[in-house]
């Protein structure tokens, strides 16, 4: 039988480091979109808590923890990362397996907001955008999902087909921020 070799979205171009900031690719495991049916949001959230120990997150928020997380991803939709979603959820929500559809990065280091400020119109000030906060917005010209996982680290999700462009955009921004710091 032919054995296919799985390649991650950013195989061969990550990780790298620029002036203390690091960009690495994450393998978060299964990714499932959960979209509760009309009027079923509470029932879906209760069921997810019973099955996976996390509720469906409110807009702009996440729930759970690293390795088993639910991330709000739009109107009436959340992505569950790291754990498979039991088919019992289908009673309350539309489920779609999106495990191979996303590229997930972790950008970390002091001044990480300065890099992202060059790419997204979001206000990522630590006083406004706190740990566990989530936003869907733009990274350059592409749709992206931002999650703050600590004071100095973000997880960024983009569509898999955009992975190489996203890495390039973030790399250019990291180098530009480093260059500005070198001048100061």
């Amino acid at each position: 039988m032919v054995r296919l070799i799985a390649k991650s979205p950013s195989e061969g171009i990550l990780p790298f480091e620029v002036n203390g900031l690091t960009l690495v690719e994450l393998d978060v495991g299964p990714i499932t979109s959960v979209a509760p049916f009309d009027g079923q949001a509470v029932a879906a959230s209760d069921r997810l808590r019973a099955l996976a120990g996390m509720e469906l997150p409110k807009p702009n928020r996440s729930s759970g923890r690293e390795g088993a997380r639910a991330v709000w991803s739009g109107a009436g939709q959340a992505m569950v990362l790291g754990v498979a979603v039991d088919a019992a959820m289908r009673q309350h929500a539309a489920l779609t397996d999106q495990s191979d559809a996303w590229a997930v990065f972790r950008l970390e280091g002091q001044g990480v907001e300065d890099v992202l400020a060059r790419l997204t119109p979001l206000d990522l000030n630590p006083g406004v955008f706190k740990r566990g906060h989530v936003a869907r917005s733009l990274l350059g010209h592409m749709s992206a999902l931002f999650l703050r996982v600590s004071g100095e680290a973000f997880e960024i999700m983009v569509f898999r087909s955009m992975a190489r462009t996203a890495v390039h955009e973030i790399e250019v921004a990291m180098k530009a921020v480093a260059a500005r710091k070198a001048l100061a």
Binding site: G74, R136, L138
Partner: protein, 90 residues
């Protein structure tokens, strides 16, 4: 210009797409041709002042929004989810 999305909060205009006047929320009930369809498709005012139109938050929560704004000052006066506005009209 910034629009305060009811779900996402205060966001930059580049995340949104203009989708036309709020007339599009009131589709004529009849399936045949009638003057109501002509009005629905083509007749628009061009106000200097307050107007209400639909915007799509494509780079955010992907909701359609009903935005009340002032064309002379660029003030955004009110933003609702189009879904809620439509349900409110029955």
């Amino acid at each position: 210009m910034r629009i305060k999305c009811p779900l996402c909060g205060d966001r930059d205009q580049r995340e949104f797409t203009y989708m036309g006047h709020e007339t599009y929320l009131d589709r004529p009930a009849d399936e045949g041709w009638s003057p109501a369809w002509d009005t629905y498709l083509h007749l628009r005012d061009n106000p200097a002042g307050v107007t209400r139109d639909l915007w799509y938050h494509g780079a955010g929560c992907t909701s359609w929004l009903l935005v009340e704004r002032d064309t002379t000052t660029h003030d955004i006066l009110r933003v609702d989810l189009a879904r809620d506005a439509k349900r409110g009209r029955g």
